[in-house]
């Protein structure tokens, strides 16, 4: 189920502006890969290119190849809607659907794929997704309550449950803990560790301790200069990137000399 992602010669544009340039990388399956780098370096943009959410913004497009399981996501015959059903996403701020209950939120993605689902099947999907997101124990008594009534950390875990309920091949996380307190953050990090047994996970983070704690591999993005596109500077095992990086810029960033 979990698949690796091969990116070849990827350029990402917002209209005329080239935001990210010439990315070549292979993100391994069933591992956690962290994207780090200073603000505006294109790591979130690159993440959104991995499930074609980038092109939701008017005028935005990419040039290059993104292969998941050998299939190019940007091939002409590929429907972005189908891509997003295979590559799930968790956002920076928790965004459960405010008009839906906790139950409806978790099942929302399944309802899109498979309108006619038996009640018992739906119940099973909701329970297993919430259990996988470590939220079942906290909400099983109040599944019919609005998702927006939960705490921020619980909402974010609800969003993770919603994303994994459709059993994607890849799970993208765009700074999933930046709006959360340390305890909720720790809960999400534990969850990421558990999830990587079944999913390929890519996480963007500004928190380098977090990258070091949760990820197996790390990609460092940086700007060549102001107004220039962001680039992938270095990619490798997290242990190596944080102890003995090949590039000077990586070392400067990791050690807090800039960014």
């Amino acid at each position: 189920m979990a698949k690796s992602i091969d990116v070849t010669d990827l350029d990402i544009y917002y209209g005329d502006f080239k935001a990210v340039e010439d990315v070549n990388v292979t993100i391994p399956a069933k591992q956690v890969t962290a994207f780090i780098g200073p603000s505006g370096c294109g790591k979130s943009t690159f993440l959104r290119a991995l499930n074609r959410m980038h092109e939701v913004i008017p005028g935005a497009y990419v040039d290059g190849k993104v292969l998941v399981d050998g299939q190019d996501l940007y091939a002409v015959e590929v429907d972005p809607v189908a891509v997003r059903r295979q590559v799930g996403m968790v956002f920076q701020r928790p965004n459960p659907f405010p008009t839906m209950s906790i139950y409806e939120n978790v099942i929302a993605g399944m309802r899109l794929n498979n309108k006619k689902m038996k009640k018992s099947e739906a119940d099973d999907v909701v329970e297993s997704a919430l259990r996988a997101a470590d939220l079942w124990g906290e909400v099983n008594e109040r599944l019919a309550r609005p998702g927006s009534g939960l705490s921020g950390g619980q909402q974010q875990r609800l969003c993770i449950a919603r994303a994994i309920a459709v059993q994607p091949q890849v799970l993208l996380m765009d700074e999933p803990c930046s709006a959360l307190d340390p305890i909720s953050t720790s809960a999400i990090e534990d969850l990421i560790h558990e999830l990587k047994a079944n999913y390929t996970i890519v996480i963007v983070t500004h928190n380098m301790q977090q990258a070091a704690r949760v990820s197996d591999d790390t990609a460092f993005f940086n700007l060549v200069g102001t107004g220039k596109p962001g680039r992938l500077i270095e990619f490798g095992e997290t242990r190596k990137i944080f102890s003995n990086p090949d590039e000077k810029a990586t070392e400067d960033y990791i050690s807090g000399r800039f960014g």
Binding site: P58, V83, N95, P98, T99, A108, L112, S148
Partner: protein, 312 residues
């Protein structure tokens, strides 16, 4: 020391604060006073009308006989108009907010706003001169093919001046205001919710159903109620199009159509005197109360699931 503690305990009041709170309070009170004044006027002036005898309530025998069909006609025409206008308005608003290319959507938006500013007498004239004759073939078809449905039993007049034409004219009149409000509300859907739906693999229509409609639901209801308010009170367009009668009829394309309260007042007031005036004002009071009930009902609908509204 005494000075500094004094400074902390003394409330800070700037001139701007005082002016603002004063004008805000004044404006709020003014609305209530105006509303109470209108209500009071209608009640005092209209009270004798409720008990008027048949001399003042022609062609009916008493007040209820006159006001009943008028209320019926008012509610019927406004409801029909709303049923035609709301789906169309939501569709147009969605097209402008989520489907049309940006340049086109701006032009369309201006156009809709412009339509809202056209005076109702113009819509009335357009309805009677242009629209009604064009609709006659449709009425004929309905009469001949589905005439067994009481709504379309006919007989259709060649002029096309009937309840169905009124409903269409009213629908066109209230369409812009409903569209404009819906468009604004749809545009305010948080990007976060839209992206949440898209990231789950929703198509654009599924995204609209998952994120845009739930977020805009109370706004759509409010927009519809504003439109309904305008349709309920519309005078000129109805007066121009309809050949009025005092009766109950669900025959939308027939020769005899129930008039509306506002239209009836406009038609009868110039020649009314004494108790007849009171009767007309009493029907006005009834219209006033109907709009109140409609608004409260709309509020109730909106509040029913308020904890799911996203406001918390």
């Amino acid at each position: 020391m005494a000075d500094s503690s004094n400074e902390l305990t003394r409330p800070v009041k700037r001139l701007g604060d005082r002016i603002f709170s004063g004008t805000a309070l004044g404006a709020g009170v003014l609305i209530l006073v105006t509303l109470a004044g209108v209500g009071l006027f209608l009640t005092i002036e209209g009270l004798p009308g409720f008990t008027a005898d048949s001399s003042a309530t022609q062609p009916a025998d008493n007040f209820v006989g006159l006001a009943g069909p008028l209320v019926f006609g008012t509610v019927l025409s406004a409801t029909l108009a709303l049923m035609l206008a709301v789906p169309l308005a939501v569709g147009v608003a969605l097209f402008i907010s989520h489907y049309a290319p940006r340049r086109l959507s701006q032009g369309l938006g201006y156009l809709v706003d412009l339509l809202a500013a056209v005076p109702s007498v113009v819509y009335g004239l357009w309805g009677i001169i242009f629209l009604a004759p064009k609709l006659v073939p449709i009425y004929r078809w309905l009469e001949n093919n589905v005439g067994w449905i009481p709504f379309f039993s006919g007989p259709t007049l060649a002029s096309g001046r009937n309840m169905a034409t009124v409903a269409v004219v009213l629908a066109v009149m209230i369409l812009p205001i409903i569209t404009a409000i819906c468009r604004e509300i749809f545009l305010q859907t948080p990007t976060l919710h839209e992206e949440a739906a898209l990231a789950l693999g929703a198509t654009r229509w599924e995204m609209i159903r998952m994120a845009v409609f739930p977020y805009g639901r109370s706004g759509i209801v409010s927009a519809a109620m504003l439109g309904l308010g305008r349709a309920l009170g519309e005078t000129l367009a109805v007066t121009l199009v309809l050949s009025p009668a005092i009766l109950y009829s669900f025959n939308f394309i027939g020769a005899q159509n129930p008039s509306t309260i506002a239209s009836n007042i406009a038609l009868q007031f110039p020649e009314a005197s004494g108790l007849e005036v009171s009767v007309l004002i009493a029907t006005g009071l009834v219209l006033f109360l109907i709009t109140f009930v409609v608004n409260f009902a709309a509020r109730a609908v909106v509040n029913r699931r308020s904890e799911f509204s996203g406001a918390n």
